[in-house]
């Protein structure tokens, strides 16, 4: 369990997290909440859990903040080197493989659930999930973090293949809002990003602007 392997007093964890990524024609939409906790204290209420790995490749981080930051830094270095060697934009699959290699090799020491998402010229928008334990698989839509448990039903029933960018943004924002509503350890703002051939567009939906759902 999380409590067993990190000392509550000293470790910042994102396990209190809701992260999500969706593929669409031409790119991906990624989103995350913004809460980092050490135990019951919210260490950072405006965290940015969407981390750039390369120009058009991002990762959504959940689990131990320290572990995921260290892994992301290492992969960013490796991918940058690889891209320069190849003289080409790196594939999203390569980034995901690098994450997987590290997360699997050091699975006993790490607590990291990562979603890798981005756009490359060969295969377009792609989402790969690398949960704790270090498996890697591509999915059209993926959710992660503690808050994700509450939205599997919502995602399964509302996802349709072939949604547009705007529909994906709305879908992601609503799903994350629902997760943040129910998961005590997720909250704050919703950070969204669209990664496509044109580049990266980021946005923030503040607490009072989040979609409203009836909670009767």
């Amino acid at each position: 369990t999380l409590e067993a392997c990190c000392s509550r007093a000293w470790t910042s964890c994102f396990n209190s997290t809701s992260i999500m990524a969706v593929e669409f024609e031409g790119g991906v939409v990624i989103g995350a909440d913004s809460r980092t906790t050490t135990g019951a204290y919210i260490a950072n209420r405006v965290t940015d859990k969407l981390t750039p790995i390369h120009e058009r490749i991002f990762c959504c981080r959940s689990g131990s903040a320290a572990d995921t930051q260290a892994i992301a830094d290492a992969v960013t270095y490796q991918l940058g080197f690889h891209s320069i060697e190849l003289d080409e934009a790196p594939l999203v699959q390569t980034a995901a493989s690098l994450f997987r290699e590290m997360c699997y090799r050091y699975r006993e020491e790490l607590m990291a659930g990562i979603i890798v998402a981005g756009w490359d010229p060969r295969r377009g928008g792609q989402v790969y999930t690398v949960p704790v334990g270090g498996m890697m698989t591509r999915q059209p839509v993926s959710v992660g973090g503690s808050g994700s448990s509450y939205i599997y039903g919502y995602v399964d029933s509302n996802y349709r293949a072939g949604m547009s960018k705007e529909e994906c943004l709305k879908f992601t924002a609503e799903a994350l809002t629902l997760a943040m509503e129910r998961d005590g350890s997720s909250g704050g703002v919703v950070r969204l990003a669209v990664v496509s051939e044109q580049g990266v567009e980021r946005q923030v939906i503040l607490g009072n602007q989040l979609p409203k759902f009836s909670t009767v």
Binding site: H82, E85, L86, L91, T94, L98, E101, R122, M136
Partner: protein
């Protein structure tokens, strides 16, 4: 156009006054005086001309490169990158007097869905280039002339296999060269094949 590099040709770490590295040039001559060999790995194939022992060692190197890449990055190595890595390796052996350059040239070919068919050649000096068609070995000039007559981009693999075999037969010198065996190999969508001499004759006769 051969010249004797007396005194300047004893090691690869020496330039001649006219800026040539004779050891590398001698290595390229080794390529001309030899026969070809095929090695196959995965969906990349290579043809080699030159010293067979050098060729085998180099093909082992390229297998390792491809395997390491796959293991680190999770997908098959792009051919351009493999050719660059092999070329870098070959080039390293042209820098020092403690070793001699590789006496073989390498042609690498592959097919993958993203890049389509690709062809690269590495020579003993460590240069690698991409090609639509290329030839190495003793009769390479004659073979290149024949290749230039082909409209490769408009032909299928099937047609090119026949053309390649024809060219080998055309450039083979009945007088100077001994009886030869033709080994043919091709890579295309989905798989690769190797054809040995006895089957070739049947294959060619039935196709013509």
């Amino acid at each position: 156009m051969s010249s004797i590099g007396t005194g300047y040709d004893l090691s690869a770490s020496t330039f001649s006054p006219d800026g040539r590295v004779f050891q590398v040039e001698y290595a390229m001559k080794a390529v001309e005086n030899s026969r070809s060999l095929f090695c196959v790995f995965g969906v990349t194939e290579y043809a080699v001309a030159g010293l067979l022992a050098d060729a085998r060692s180099l093909s082992e190197v390229s297998r390792e490169e491809a395997s390491n890449f796959r293991s680190n990055y999770g997908h098959d190595i792009p051919l351009k990158h493999l050719a660059d890595r092999v070329a870098m390796y070959v080039h390293a052996y042209t820098l020092y007097s403690a070793v001699r350059p590789f006496g073989c040239s390498f042609i690498l070919g592959s097919y993958d869905e993203d890049d389509g068919p690709q062809l690269y050649m590495v020579d003993p000096s460590g240069i690698s280039h991409g090609y639509w068609g290329c030839a190495i070995g003793k009769a390479k000039q004659a073979a290149k002339t024949e290749i230039e007559k082909l409209q490769m981009k408009e032909m299928t693999c099937r047609e090119l296999v026949k053309e390649v075999a024809k060219i080998i037969y055309i450039v083979h010198d009945e007088v100077k060269d001994k009886a030869f065996e033709l080994e043919l190999s091709w890579v295309g969508e989905g798989n690769y094949w190797i054809l040995y001499s006895t089957s070739i004759t049947t294959f060619l006769w039935t196709s013509f």
